[in-house]
Structures are given as C-alpha cells and as structure tokens.
Symmetry: C2
Subunit: 359 residues, 2 copies
C-alpha cells in the first residue's frame, strides 16, 4: 500500500428519498437498508485494503457527525469533519485537499461517495488502485462504469470511441462529460459503447487539485488558503468564517469540465449501484417466490412484488402489488414502486406544514 | 316507556375483519372505528330512550367483559355476562330469556347486535318500539330493512308480495327466511320488492321464547331450566356446567325457521349498516376531495380513494389508490379495498404461525 494514499468520503447528503427512515439525523449513508452494515460502514470496509482507516477522512454535516463517529470507531475522530454549512462538492473537496496537502505534501486522494453499493469489492479495489496509481503521477482521474441500461439519472463520461471496459494499462483520456441525459440520448450513449456512467469518484494529488482550483475557482482556492494549519487552535473558527465564502458549485462543473486533461478508468461491472431510492433497495435484495421483499414475519396474501421495511412489526399485505411500505415509530410511507423517486415531494409538503419533527 | 321492556345486546363476536385493530381483547364492538363512541356504546346510546340502561343486558365473552364494563358504566355490572364458551345465538338468547323471565315474568326482550351502525336513530327507535309493542302481545317479531342493493352477505326476510316499507299499523306475517343468496338471486329479491334484509334484531316475550325453545330445541331448553335463580351463589358455576350442553345453533335455524308464525316490521331506511369490513368504514366516513379518508395529518400525493387508520402516526401515501392502511403498535395492514372481506384469512395464517400475540 502506498503510504501517500488518502481517502475522502463525502457524507453530507440528506438522502430524502429514504424517508421515513432517512431524517436529518439519519441520512441514507448511516442507514442499514441492505444488511447489517450501514452504507458508510460498507464504504470504509471495502476501501480498507487499499486505503486504511487511519488515512480516511470524512466530510459530513453537524446533524450526522455524531452518528458517523459512533459507526466508524476505526477512523480517527479528528478526521471526521462537519462542513460549517451545506455547500456543493467543490469547496468540500478543496478543503480536504488543502488539509491533506499540509499533512502530507505527497498526498494522493480518492474522493468517494458514502452511500453507494458495490457488490464486487475485489474488482472495485482493482479499479481504485489503478486510479490512485495514475493520480500519483499527477493525472486527474475519474471512474466510468459500463452502463447496464440507459439510465437518465446519472451523468456520463465519454471516452474515445472503441474504448473497451476493463482496467487498462494506462489511463484513458476523457473526451467529454455529459450531464444527466433524456432517455433517447441515454439510449444512444449506451448503443455507442464508449459512454460510461459517471461513478462520482475522483482521484488526484492534493496539490494538483489545489492548482486546478486556483486556475478555475480562484475565489474558493484563495479563501481556503487563508486557513491556518489543520490542528491549529483556531482552525474550526476560521473555517466557519471561510467556508461560506467558497463557491457553491460541484467539482464536476468547477474543475473536471474545465481542466485541459482529465483521464479515467472505463471500468467494467463491479456491482455498483447508487441506491437512489427505495425501489433500488427492492431491486438489490433477494425476493421471495411472489417477488416480495418483506421479511419472514410478513403475511402476504395475493400480494406480489412489494417491498416492506418495518423494523420488527408484522406487516400484512392483502391483494396489493408493487408497493413500497416503510414504517417507523412516527411516520409510515405507502408508495407505488414506480413513484419511489418522488418521495422527496412528501418532505416538501411536511416542511410546508411545519412538521420539522419528521424531516 | 313500558317497564317490562328489556334489551339483550349480543357482544360475543370476534370481528376478525377489523384486524389489526380488532383483537381477542378488542373486538369490533368495542372499537371506535367511526367516531368517539365505540359501536357498543353507540348501541346503548340509541336504545336508551326506549330501553333504559338499567334494563339492558349484555352477553359477551371472557376476553371482552372487562373492557365492556369499562365502556358502559351505566349498565349494572351483573347484567354484563360472559358465556362460558363460544356458542351460537340460540343458547345465548335462551339463557337471557331464562334469566329475564325469572327477573320479570312479563319481560319483553329485544335482541340487538352490538356492532352495527344506525344513522337515523329516530326512525330506528320508531321501529324498535313497534316491534316491542307487538312482542308484548306474544308475537315473535323480526325487523327487515328495505334493501338498497343486492347484498349477498345478508340473509333476507320474505314478506307477502306488495308489502310496502314503513312501520305498519300491525305486524306483517313473515312468509320465509332466506339465507345469504348468490348475486342473481339477491338481484331478484331486490327487484321483487317484498324481500328485506334481515337486521339480526329479534323481539319476543321471554316466556314465549322459552316455549319455542322447548318445542324446537328441547335439549337446550331443558339444560337452561336446570339453572338456579339468577343471583344465586352457584349460578356461575352451574352455568359453566350447563352451557356446553346447549346446541351450538343460531336462533334463526333453531326457532325462526321452525315457528308456526313469525311477524316482522318491513322497515324503510334507518341508516343501518352492519359495518362488515374496513371498506364499510371507508364508505361510512366523509372523504376529502381525492376520495381519501385519511385524517388531517396524512400526506396524500397522487393518491385516491384510500382509507387510513393509524392512530396519531403520520401516513404518507404516494401514487397509490383504493388501499386500506391500518397501523397499530405491533401490526400493520395494507390491503386492497376490494379484498377487505378477506382480512380474516390473515388471522388464520398468523394462527398457523403461532402468532397468538397478534390475534
């Protein structure tokens, strides 16, 4: 293991689509929707052989920091940071790069979402290692995933035509980044073969990223560089002052789409899923012979293809199909599976009604 | 008010179709599915102007007696009896007749279900009064209700053709009792005009009923007549011994279909509903503009014609239609409205799985 490899896990997301289980203080990344480990614990587990926990850093928010500290005792507590306020990915990654550069001038950092699923961690680590290796040689690296369907919810990375999936000998130049497409465009992308899902993982040397920020996002770079040394007494207070001055922009827009050269790994399938909704959870879990994911205690009569998450409560389904049923102590969701993406609209309504207790 | 009028409220039913709110210890009749009064409280309320609580008797089972005593403090506690074991209506009514006859040789008794709804209590009491009046003159009286649709879940009373609904000057002779019909037959009944829903209410003098029992159900009559005087020290012990010897048969089969003369009131609509399922509750309650009966706290998005009963919990419905959602602390039901009659099947399954905690 290269001792200069560091990981930044981004864990500031709200995950509103997992309501009523996701709340301000229990966002998707700290939920165990798929097994006994939470999504962020699973992220750390699968990274550990490449980047050990003592070199993992986490950026989250004040609502989630305590539970993340509890869930990840193997990560040094000082490396689990709260953003003073919610910004986009560019300031968060810039902040981490600034800190890591001061901790280790040779630092190579991988940036990882905290709430995705990977079912083939071996293949995943092969890709991560290759990306870190290229990043150590001053490349800006991304990871594309061979698309399995014309998904309209992801961005796409365009590689040169004829690019084959796999971990190549060297990094492959990225031709373009494409935003979430409409279905006809997504279908063309998949047919073309050289368009890959953007996994949301990035790899670069901390100093290389800071240089890019200075070029493309000078105000944010300058603000971050006024911060004292990490560990200094006034670091937190200064950060609170500095962070709001940073541009509220994603790293994709701020750097990747503007940099003169970005490279990537056109990865094959490593069982990646962004678990974007309760329906994704349904798709990922084993079903019974009626297509239900409901637990052994559930009673299903003339009921097919339903998803149930209800803690220990017995749920009886009678004559219903394609439902999502999620029960918690103070709120219950009953939704059609094909509306799973719209769960966030419920939260907007609850907010309007001042039901902050349920958000 | 005639001082010889007594009421027997039959409250031994399980009401499995209201699971998960109905349980062994909280059957339908003691639930407040339609308002702040429970069904049995509402029964007593509407009878009181005709038969005061001090002359009302209740037959229930050991699981429900305590809660009924609590819900009906106005009824003398000794008049709230438990059947030693579950039998059909003939032994229960026979027992009450035997007791009432000993309490008051002139007793005229009305027999009432405990779990029905009546929306026009004034019209209802007019019918009850007329039936009691005829019963006082030694008639066996029933009450038919003009059918509003060809219901296959009720028995029918056939009056002479040309019978008009209303409270007639005198009782009308019943031609036949008909069991729950298939739909084509029910449709013929409704078209014919002289077939009425059997309301399950009966009216007779206690001594007249005992005579009928002696004729048509001699074993049961003889067993009951070995009982000591009501109030005697050994009454309960003797009842425990005697009751299991009684025939397990309904009063309809045992007496009404065999008696030489039965009369009835062909009643018009007094807003009667037997509240046979959660769907009946849905039909009886006011709906919002999307056809939902869900309470003010519910969040309904693209959701129509659903019924929700969830205590104080916030329920969010997203893209679902025609559902019944009933939530309790330890069990949750999600059913299609058109399957509401089959909720009992869930209980059979739970029983098989030894989940007696949920029955």
């Amino acid at each position: 293991m290269n001792p200069h490899y560091y990981g930044l896990i981004l864990a500031g997301g709200r995950g509103t689509r997992f309501w009523p289980r996701s709340r301000k203080r229990s966002a998707k990344q700290v939920l165990n929707v798929l097994g006994d480990r939470t999504l962020i614990q699973a992220t750390v587990d699968r990274l550990s052989p490449v980047i050990p926990p003592e070199r993992l850093w986490i950026l989250t928010n004040e609502h989630l920091r305590d539970i993340i500290i509890k869930q990840l005792p193997e990560i040094p507590r000082k490396q689990i940071l709260s953003e003073p306020e919610q910004r986009n990915t560019a300031p968060a990654i810039g902040l981490a790069a600034h800190i890591l550069r001061s901790v280790d001038p040779e630092a190579v950092m991988g940036v990882f979402p905290s709430d995705h699923v990977v079912n083939k961690p071996g293949s995943y680590r092969e890709v991560i290692s290759a990306a870190l290796h290229a990043a150590a040689e001053r490349k800006l690296m991304v990871v594309g995933i061979q698309p399995r369907w014309p998904e309209t919810g992801y961005g796409y990375i365009e590689f040169p035509s004829g690019t084959e999936p796999g971990v190549p000998a060297g990094p492959v130049a990225v031709k373009h980044f494409h935003e979430k497409p409409k279905l006809p465009t997504a279908t063309e992308y998949v047919a073309a073969g050289n368009f890959y899902w953007n996994s949301g993982m990035f790899f670069w040397r901390a100093d290389v990223l800071m240089n890019e920020l200075r070029l493309h996002l000078p105000k944010t770079a300058a603000a971050l560089e006024t911060l004292p040394r990490f560990g200094a007494r006034d670091f937190a207070a200064k950060l609170k002052h500095v962070f709001p001055q940073c541009d509220n922009i994603s790293i994709d827009y701020a750097v990747l789409e503007k940099a003169t050269e970005v490279s990537g790994i056109p990865a094959g399938d490593f069982g990646w899923n962004d678990v974007g909704s309760w329906n994704a959870v349904y798709e990922l879990l084993p079903r019974d012979e009626s297509g239900n994911v409901a637990g052994a205690d559930a009673v299903c009569l003339e009921a097919n293809n339903n998803f149930v998450d209800a803690g220990g409560k017995v749920v009886a389904l009678l004559g219903v199909n394609d439902l999502i049923v999620v029960d918690t102590a103070d709120a219950l969701l009953v939704a059609s599976r094909d509306k799973a993406q719209q769960v966030g609209e419920i939260l907007k309504l609850l907010e309007k009604r001042n039901r902050h207790d349920l958000l």
